[in-house]
């Protein structure tokens, strides 16, 4: 995984709540066996609508998605994260994320930045009134910034310490766990014999 420290890109206002992973990428797009090629399936049902935000310039070149509460609820499909990344998103901002989606984001290197609902409202207003405004995210200081002068927005975002550290360092989770091999072995040595086996 590539390390993540800061990112600045065009903000995309997705004025919707409860955007579940079936909305992010419908099941019919999940048939691929690779981690790429999912950009076409991103928000597939809405992409036919010319007024949908990603069908409008300059939002189509955006890399910071700003969504309402409960983004990424539902299915565990990591394809939702890959689809956002394949399209070009590096950051998703929301007041509340589905648990599995947030976990998947951290593993795959997409920053899921949790902010106050009021911040999302202000970002939506700003990004809609001034299309093309960039949003800057600093993972080290956990801050998010957008706009200038009287319209400027600056606030903090939440992300758990461990995920932040892994993202900043670009660490491979499996590698970290394998460094605790001895702990795993000693646990396995004391597991009950009546636990089931498939082979």
């Amino acid at each position: 995984m590539d390390a993540f420290s800061t990112h600045t890109g065009i903000g995309v206002p997705l004025r919707r709540n409860n955007v579940d992973t079936d909305q992010i990428i419908p099941a019919v797009y999940l048939k691929r066996v690779t981690r790429d090629g999912f950009a076409d399936g991103l928000f597939a049902a809405w992409r036919n609508d010319p007024s949908f935000v990603l069908n409008r310039k300059p939002y189509d070149a955006g890399s910071v998605l700003v969504a309402g509460p409960d983004f990424g609820t539902g299915s565990s499909r990591e394809h939702a994260v890959w689809a956002l990344q394949n399209y070009g998103f590096r950051v998703v901002v929301s007041p509340r994320f589905g648990d599995i989606f947030r976990g998947n984001s951290g593993k795959a290197g997409l920053l899921a930045a949790q902010v106050d609902e009021k911040v999302v409202q202000r970002l939506w207003d700003l990004l809609e009134s001034q299309p093309g405004t960039t949003v800057s995210v600093d993972l080290e200081s956990r801050t998010i910034k957008a706009g200038e002068g009287v319209d400027a927005i600056e606030d903090s975002f939440d992300i758990d310490d461990y995920t932040r550290w892994r993202l900043l360092e670009g660490l491979d989770d499996i590698g970290i766990t394998l460094s605790h091999e001895a702990d795993i072995e000693s646990y396995e040595a004391r597991r009950s014999s009546f636990k089931p086996a498939t082979l």
């Binding site: 999940l30 049902a45 409960d70 609820t73 990591e78 648990d99 599995i100 998947n104 310490d161 014999s193």
Partner: protein
């Protein structure tokens, strides 16, 4: 033999003498390593995999030159993307075929047991685990599927994971996990006749909202839960994720032990005795404290159906479609407005007046043998309404065979229903079983998200009795409505 509490555990915060909840007992028993400022490293007893969320995980292993640490704690099946018609022939869609064949190659290469299409133990991953007796109390169970919570019905700690985590478990048989908060949902009273576990859980989700359980492992308890069969308990735990919970579980009891005893993969002889003795310790201690509690009364519950596009947007079948103005919160009002537009519904329409095109009986929520027996008992001697289609999809090959042994397939076919092969089918609309744009369904599955059952499809989540009565009358109905029809 219970492990030590983790450093961030509530027990230590509130004093070492306090009892533990069921979830905490199972958690602590599986902590491989715990350190300040890090998530606990949990050992995983059973890892279930399927064709859709595993290919990239196996690719990752190959790329890093890693193997599967414990193939004997891993089980694979084909369910999400398999056809339910002509399932004994090569899969027609080449992309789907590639995905299924990729799983077969990976299982072969890494030495993992796989139940393929045509195998007697093939079926929806959350149906075959319990059916084989692999799902047992006190285990940690994960799967790249959010409805893994189903297995919590046995007192296991079971939750859905993403593909990167699938790779992590394959490589290490462990998973780093932050300790969740605990919640109790106590359901008192007795469910009235004709009101099912599905109605119970839909009522709960309407009460809490889809985010109400977020961050919690939930224990369902109380007389109404204890009275449920194992299959009904699975229906309740299955939908934990629909109100945001990380997992849902129920303490194992005699009902659990009776269900497991004699199953193919359940412990035998002395091991059985040892296992049951341990399982009996898997209850929440009297002096344990939950971080949150909800209390519901089963006796006031009625058949419950959804009108909107998330599982929390539901009302009693006897009620009407709500208006956005009925909601206090501005966010809920907007969500209701959007849902009504998508669902093509007018506020104030009685739910019973809603005409349905397709009825789907199946999925890991309601695709087990008891569900099919219930549906068959209602439809026997009746017919599916003229403009309605009824799709009955058993959750596993064994459920299908058992239903055929009992003659249920004949009852369904005589009533004009379609009898299919086992799989996820129209629950997620990945295979050809999909709704057409604008088509309306009553579905025994767990999600009514926009487009879930096919692009533009409109889904009402219902119980098995409501689904069956709806198929017969063509409008959202309960079996009680059929009796009235008979009299008139």
């Amino acid at each position: 033999m219970l492990g030590q509490g983790s450093k961030t555990g509530k027990n230590e915060r509130k004093g070492a003498l306090m009892g533990k909840t069921l979830a905490e007992k199972v958690w602590d028993e599986h902590v491989v390593r715990s350190a300040d400022g890090e998530p606990d490293l949990l050992y995983i007893d059973l890892h279930l995999i399927h064709e859709v969320t595993s290919p990239q995980a196996f690719d990752g292993l190959r790329l890093a030159g890693r193997g599967v640490r414990r193939p004997e704690l891993t089980l694979a099946t084909e369910d999400h993307n398999v056809p339910t018609l002509d399932w004994d022939k090569p899969i027609a869609d080449p992309v789907s075929r590639t995905q299924v064949e990729t799983l077969r190659r990976n299982a072969e290469e890494f030495g993992i047991r796989l139940h393929s299409l045509g195998d007697i133990d093939q079926g929806i991953v959350h149906i075959i685990g319990p059916q084989l007796g692999l799902t047992q109390p006190g285990l940690t169970i994960v799967c790249g599927d959010s409805h893994t919570s189903t297995h919590g019905a046995f007192g296991a700690l079971a939750f859905g994971i993403g593909t990167s985590e699938v790779e992590h478990v394959l490589a290490t048989q462990t998973l780093p996990q932050a300790r969740p908060k605990t919640m109790a949902v106590t359901v008192n009273g007795v469910l009235p006749d004709g009101v099912t576990a599905k109605d119970l859980v839909l009522t709960l989700i309407a009460h809490t909202g889809t985010g109400g359980g977020q961050g919690y492992v939930v224990e369902y308890r109380g007389p109404a839960i204890e009275a449920l069969s194992m299959e009904a308990r699975m229906t309740v735990c299955n939908m934990s994720i629909e109100w945001g919970a990380k997992a849902g579980l129920i303490a194992p009891d005699q009902t659990t032990f009776d269900y497991l005893e004699g199953r193919k993969e359940a412990p035998k002889g002395e091991e059985w005795e040892a296992a049951v003795a341990y399982w009996k310790t898997l209850v929440t201690d009297d002096d344990a404290e939950f971080d949150e509690e909800i209390v519901l009364d089963a006796s006031t519950m009625t058949p419950f159906v959804t009108w909107g596009t998330n599982p929390g947007q539901g009302v009693p079948l006897g009620a009407s479609v709500p208006a956005p103005g009925d909601f206090e919160d501005a966010t809920d009002q907007i969500a209701a407005q959007k849902a009504l537009e998508y669902m093509g519904l007018d506020a104030g329409t009685p739910m019973r007046a809603i005409k349905v095109d397709t009825v789907f009986v199946g999925s890991c929520t309601n695709g087990r043998i008891e569900d099919l027996r219930t549906a068959a008992s209602i439809i026997k001697g009746r017919r599916v309404a003229a403009d309605t289609r009824l799709l009955v999809v058993p959750g596993s090959a064994r459920v299908r065979l058992q239903a055929e042994d009992e003659g249920l397939d004949v009852i369904f076919k005589e009533a004009g229903a379609e009898w299919r092969g086992a799989g996820c089918s129209m629950c997620l609309g990945m295979n050809p079983d999909q709704l057409a744009p604008g088509e309306r369904s009553a579905s025994t599955s767990n999600r009514n998200f926009e487009g879930r059952q096919g692009k533009g499809g409109r889904t009402h989540l219902v119980s098995v009795p409501v689904a069956t009565a709806t198929a017969i009358r063509g409008t959202l109905s309960s079996p009680a409505d059929l009796d009235t029809d008979g009299e008139s």
